[in-house]
Subunit: 262 residues, 2 copies
């Protein structure tokens, strides 16, 4: 089972768009996928059609009230893609967890319990994708401890590139102190406009610094991707013939092919 | 003196790009401007050519060590534009301030002291622009308490629009409990691609919901704006003839004109 933290502390680089549509692409390819919304702004949950009221079961209940994951899960419109949703209460989570012993591994422990249950019930889980907020606080650290892989979503512009060294430092710290199994396995060039020299230069930099991890697939700019969340539909429901759909399907294919020849 | 919090909890909507270039435009129009970087990721500081080491005087020193603002200020390449910079220590600030009495008004008190000093020394200060991180935590609340105006930077896409009601709720809460003088005076359509129907629709929604506050000026997509930070230059140094330069100059003009006929 691959547990992947989708991360970049820079805002608006395409993390949520990636979790929603890569998750859907993998599920459409027959994989069983759990998406986890760890952002108090709950964009992923909204994208996948789940809009919770405060106090409804959510990632917050799991992190701060010890609720089992199974009690907070929601289905989505894509068969095979389940969601652990977020809602606004999660904005208090980092403060509440701050004084808790083992505060960085709360999500990991819940996830271990849940995946064990699933195995016992004969349910296969192939992918867990964790959508991180634009910060490197306790929520993102919980994601890095619960995951065994990191995918950095890198918008092909300056500020998103500039934050990478700090992100890599945090990953190393987590590897050293909390989660030796964590591995950077993917760098995804997102919102990539190939007509712009800046974008091509940044992509070149990514391929140079991360030759093994940078995906062949790039996610090009496609307004259909920006439109789809307002319809609470993934790109495959909203615009199945679009470039955005092709790109995320290709990314899923690349990730699955990589598993047959590790 | 206008103290403006430039805010939107959604990531990557153009807050930093706006503070840097609007600040520069106002300074070039003869205004005296203080820009405050309240984001631990310090993008604004980098943009304006100030890259601090940890422990160097910064917004963190002002918020958590009681350092006077004057001791942490830096000049920029634009005469009339000064910077209170950020650096990575600021990522610990929200946790450190959490238990402090009066934790929401630390910035306001420092700013009141500094502006009083400036007045006594015969220095005019016309604008204070505060760059907020992509969250509505203690740093953003400090900005809302220190400011008397709010400018919402709204990328013309779904998620940025979707977060507005929560943002307005936080502004009302601050008005009610901490800062009755705070007023929403500007909504700026940013990263606006007029060719896209989605963008035009979102702009229409903004003008409908905020008829008085939405600026006539929109900031169009212009790759020169995305390129300029990598050169640590504002748009006026990097590409003075560009659309981005014209848009931010027009925004400054609109804000200054509005002051003669309030
Ligand atoms: N490939 C793309 N083409 C066009 N627009 C895109 C693409 N990917 C994402 N977007 C749009 O860009 C904006 C930012 O994307 P998204 O919200 O997924 O980023 P994020 O990293 O999750 O942001 P945050 O840091 O705020 O959580 C959204 O309006 C989204 O619809
Ligand atoms: N008008 C524009 N045209 C083209 N690119 C832009 C424009 N405005 C901003 N950008 C680029 O879009 C990205 C996001 O902008 P910026 O960093 O200013 O947003 P932000 O709201 O400060 O983000 P964060 O929430 O992460 O602090 C940056 O790469 C920036 O260079
Ligand atoms: Mg997101
Ligand atoms: Mg910013």
């Amino acid at each position: 089972m691959r547990r992947i933290a989708i991360i970049n502390q820079k805002g608006g680089v395409g993390k949520t768009t990636t979790v929603a549509n890569l998750g859907a692409a993998l599920a459409r390819a027959g994989q069983r996928v759990l998406a986890i919304d760890l952002d108090p702004q709950a964009n992923l949950s909204l994208y996948l059609g789940v809009e919770l009221q405060p106090t409804e079961p959510s990632a917050y209940s799991v992190l701060c009230s010890g609720m089992p994951i199974s009690a907070a899960l929601r289905p989505t419109n894509t068969p095979g893609l389940e969601l652990l949703p977020s809602q606004i209460d999660l904005s208090g989570a980092e403060l509440e967890m701050a004084a808790t012993i083992g505060r960085e591994t709360i999500l990991r422990d819940s996830l271990d319990t849940w995946t064990k249950e699933q195995t016992q019930e004969g349910n296969r889980i192939d992918f867990i994708l964790i959508d991180c907020p634009p910060s490197l606080g306790l929520l993102s650290v919980n994601a890095l401890c619960a995951a065994n892989e990191v995918m950095v979503v890198a918008q092909t512009e300056f500020f998103a590139l500039q934050g990478l060294s700090r992100l890599l430092g945090i990953i190393e710290l987590v590897q050293a102190r909390l989660n030796p199994d964590l591995k950077l396995t993917g760098v995804l060039a997102s919102i990539y406009d190939a007509r712009l020299r800046l974008a091509r230069e940044v992509l070149g930099e990514l391929r140079r610094f991360f030759p093994a991890e940078t995906f062949q697939t790039t996610i090009g700019t496609n307004v259909r991707l920006a439109e789809s969340p307002s319809h609470a539909q993934t790109i495959f429901e909203y615009a199945p013939g679009s470039r955005g759909a092709r790109d995320y399907a290709a990314l899923a294919e690349e990730m699955l092919a990589g598993m047959e020849h590790p």
